[in-house]
Point group: C2
Chain length 401, copies 2
């Protein structure tokens, strides 16, 4: 039972796959562990930020109108009424035509509406010479100017950056509601495969895919679960696929690399569920299988690590973001100018590895099975299915890896 | 003792800081934990990759010359001599004018030099009709075409990507020599600070910086070590700075936000070591201190989270990369067109937060102390010290965060 001839477009394959995705649940994590996690709910601040009107410089709290026209030559002279201590609300109020010293972060005294930096003032005894005028609000952060109590500070489904963590801290969020990491089962099939620890004999190759796949999905916030190398035997493979789909949110099977092996993987998926796609109009990566077992998405990736990696980026990444709900999940890209012509077959989406230097993207031709082009390249350029190629000098978007 | 008036340039500050960096040692980690770690030594492959000449398609192994002139109308007819089994070296050699079936990944039989894809052939009984000629080497990966045994596959000081992990797997590297994570002590000073778990009273603010700093340096591969909030008391601060510099590879102190507090931090560093820089020509971030205690770099960051974050990116990041030796440590950037004029004071490097949309970088003006501009921005544009500003329409490089 080979469905391989019904090759579908990349967008159709992605659509089928996204439909299979089950949204992950959420869990609380301590704020210090929340970096790069995906926020599961809007977080609102429990306080006004700032909670009081404060100075952002070391200087003299004043009424701005009292500094009008001040200059080095003709400074305004204001009596110094006292000092604000850090972390304390001061009982002193500022009266017209006087000033109070306030450190950076200190509470602005009642009656003041601006701060003159110490660099622009000079204290002489009990008086301060103001040498530069300030405007209303200058060097001051007003009460709740940043966020009002109850306001959402970070929106749900955002992947949390260091700054987001800072805002969550300010908002009093000690346990952060985040989306659970998708648990992804990984297994490799193929009688030619040996573990990395074994020196391969003639005809054998090391199981590179388990490592590449695990690393890529970890980068995308998933937890890999390893099921090892399974020989191309129907019984063994069937047992492991059932176990993995029962235990994980999705399963990635890489290899069997030959048509017979792929057909076996497809047959096992069909036996326990449904095969939706067997063959995608993508190069490299055509012999990809998309199905469902135990209500979980199962993807059969090509055996070549280089091809498997393209399918991860072009197809599987969409599954992960559908599972987590991440907003702005687009991959990192850069703009470059194509340094050489790229030809492509109409009817399939082609991913060409390029090395980018000084804004020029040079295609790394060579056989798609070579690992060295993967590590020598900066990323890939996508040639759409309807295109017959791209000409030298075309501005391209490089998906960076 | 204030050295604050001797403000130094950003490049001078970075140079001083890099000179203080002590290179981290290295440690072995399992290959499956090596993603984003920095490789400490060149890794060489212990085998040829591939270890045998193999087919990259399902098809018929042939001598390319035997397929010359083949077409749908006039196929070449080759007797089928057998099948190659996956993972086994075949004893069959190919003789002229015959073919052997070989699955993807199978060993190419001796005597063959190319493979005809099954899509371009038709088996009829014991013979195969070849309908398309193949060139020498077509659909074949030759012995060690990817890497030769003993060849370096990944160079030292590279931050390992998923593809690098794959190549290390192929090379038989089960334990990866990586640079140890820099251990960075983090402490906050300021009598106005309260922990995130506490609701701040008038005059108090939550300790945002410990979280922002820890998240940023984690992103850069460091291990944060928290020393908490220390009140602005000389004895307490001195004790913690000594302890942190003894235990960590570098220490980041944020706040005290006022001039008096900064001077106290500088005085304590001077007492136990040296203050090299007190004041940098950068905005925001001027009141930054760089020194050394216990032979370890100590950096006094501004109290404002927004300013502290800029100093992390513009200054501290260089310290981290000097400690790890990471090559290609440049920050992620994107090109954009400035959507509004930006004015800047000559003589200081200015970092302007921008939001990038559709290739247009719009400066987020507003007070530098606001957290909301940090989370609303895509990144920052650097305005060099010698510039008085940038005009609308200028192509700018945005440091993305």
């Amino acid at each position: 039972m080979s469905l391989f001839l019904q090759v579908v477009s990349v967008s159709k394959a992605v659509e089928e796959l996204r439909n299979l995705a089950v949204r992950c649940g959420d869990e609380p994590v301590p704020l210090s562990d929340a970096l790069h996690r995906i926020l599961a709910r809007d977080v609102h601040t429990d306080v006004d930020i700032p909670g009081f009107t404060r100075s952002v410089v070391d200087g003299y709290a004043v009424r701005a109108t009292d500094t009008m026209g001040s200059s080095d030559a003709i400074p305004s002279i204001l009596p110094l009424r006292g000092r604000v201590a850090m972390g304390k609300s001061d009982s002193n109020s500022l009266r017209p035509v006087e000033c109070i010293y306030v450190p950076t972060g200190g509470i602005l005294p009642d009656g003041a509406d601006a701060v003159v930096m110490i660099e622009h003032a000079e204290q002489i005894g009990g008086e301060v010479l103001i040498k530069k005028p300030v405007a209303y609000g200058e060097n001051v952060l007003f009460f709740n100017e940043d966020f009002s109590r109850g306001e959402p500070v970070v929106k749900c489904y955002k992947k949390l950056s260091a700054q987001d963590i800072g805002v969550l801290a300010a908002a009093g969020c000690r346990d952060v509601p985040v989306v659970q990491r998708p648990k992804i089962g990984i297994l490799s099939t193929g009688n030619e495969l040996v573990p990395v620890t074994v020196r391969p004999q003639a005809g054998q190759v090391r199981d590179v895919n388990s490592y590449v796949i695990a690393a890529a999905i970890r980068d995308w916030g998933c937890s890999p679960v390893f099921y090892g190398i399974i020989r191309d035997e129907r019984e063994a493979l069937s047992t492991v696929i059932c176990k993995a789909t029962a235990e994980c949110d999705a399963v990635l099977i890489s290899g069997g690399s030959s048509k017979d092996d792929r057909d076996m993987v497809a047959a096992i998926i069909a036996e326990h569920g449904t095969v939706l796609v067997h063959g995608i109009a993508i190069a490299p990566g055509k012999p990809t299988i998309i199905g469902q077992c135990n209500g979980k998405p199962v993807i059969g990736l090509p055996g070549h690590p280089a091809s498997a990696f393209i399918v991860l980026i072009a197809i599987v990444h969409h599954l992960i973001t559908a599972m987590t709900g991440e907003t702005d999940s687009s991959m990192r890209t850069l703009q470059a100018t194509l340094g050489q012509n790229v030809s492509s077959s109409k009817g399939r989406e082609e991913y060409v590895r390029v090395a980018v230097k000084d804004g020029i993207a040079t295609p790394l031709f060579g056989k798609s099975g070579l690992l060295n082009t993967l590590v020598r390249s900066t990323g890939v350029v996508r040639v759409p299915a309807e295109s017959e190629g791209l000409e030298t000098g075309t501005r391209v978007e490089v998906i960076v890896w």
